[in-house]
């Protein structure tokens, strides 16, 4: 009995065996593609340039607005350097909560410095803070108020 080939396989085989002759490449199409590639690259760079320009403008306007509304002063007031008994520590200030810093003092005691959120920077760049100091053996030292210099932010970069 003769084997009957599946008609589906037969037509797929016919298409697969179809003679095909063509150039390895089409130079005209390649030229068109290369021109399109250059145009697309220019457009992409131009688009990126526009985005960068917009970002720069936003940054400039935002920065200007920030500076004009006293933002720089706010920034400067965020970093405070405290020096007690030769030890220096930096404290970050925010305007939303009280700040507290505990230092170990030379005599083995502790000094707790508290800056209230209501503390304001004076014209001389100084701010009042409260300090609670304890001696090493645990005896309380007299509480007092001292002035601590605010360091401009630029100094910490």
């Amino acid at each position: 009995m003769k084997d009957q080939k599946d008609p589906v396989d037969s037509i797929l085989d016919t298409l697969r065996r179809e003679p095909f002759s063509a150039q390895p490449v089409n130079p005209e199409l390649e030229d068109r593609l290369m021109q399109a590639f250059d145009t697309q690259g220019t457009a992409r760079r131009s688009r990126m340039g526009r985005v960068a320009l917009i970002a720069l403008a936003a940054l400039t306007i935002g920065g200007g607005t920030f500076a004009a509304t006293g933002g720089l002063q706010t920034l400067r007031s965020w970093l405070v350097t405290v020096e007690i008994d030769g030890k220096t520590q930096t404290l970050e200030l925010t305007q939303v909560r009280d700040q507290e810093l505990t230092l170990e003092t030379e005599d083995g005691g502790t000094a707790r410095i508290n800056i209230s959120r209501s503390a304001t920077v004076g014209d001389d760049g100084m701010v009042e803070v409260s300090i609670e100091r304890k001696r090493g053996e645990g005896e309380p030292a007299p509480n007092g108020t001292i002035k601590i210099n605010l360091e401009p932010m630029e100094d910490h970069r």
């Binding site: 298409l15 390895p24 390649e30 290369m34 590639f37």
Partner: protein, 190 residues
Amino acid sequence: MDLGIPATLDMTAPDGEQALMERAKRDRSAFALLYRTHYRPVLRYIHRRTGDPHVTDDLVADVFLIAMQSVGRYRYRGIPVRAWLFGIASNCVNQWARRQRRRALQRLAREPTAGADGRDSVSHATEVARTALLTLAPRYQTVLALHYLEGLSVQEVAAAVGCRIGTVKSRLARGRDQLRRRLSPRRLSS
């Protein structure tokens, strides 16, 4: 056009395709190499499905222009680049094929038996085969052509058309069934 680059891609080089695709995102000579490597297979695939040299030329140009626009979003996932290009080509051909389907059905119904009209029997058989394929829904045409004609694996076909391997297998089976029904004399005369 001489770009000072090799005419074909060395597929034996490790990660050659991946490196080429990354370069082709910015480098025109790399894209030219991509074009030169895949032009003929894409041309042959589209010609097998359309049978019209002019339509084929137009669609091939569309394929490589779309590839150029989307190469920046291409992510290599271990699937050959040709599968990606065949996926683009399939979308282009399918748009054309949707418009041709009704015409193909009518043409297939009118076709005489091979050689009956005096034409070369081989070219006639090829035309009948292509017309029969064109009568199927494009999603079946695509998987049958990519798998049986272009030799892509089921996994590559899945990557090309953007569906799961099981879906490709199902479409292959259904496509074959539909093609068989189209070729049956009772169906042709109806």
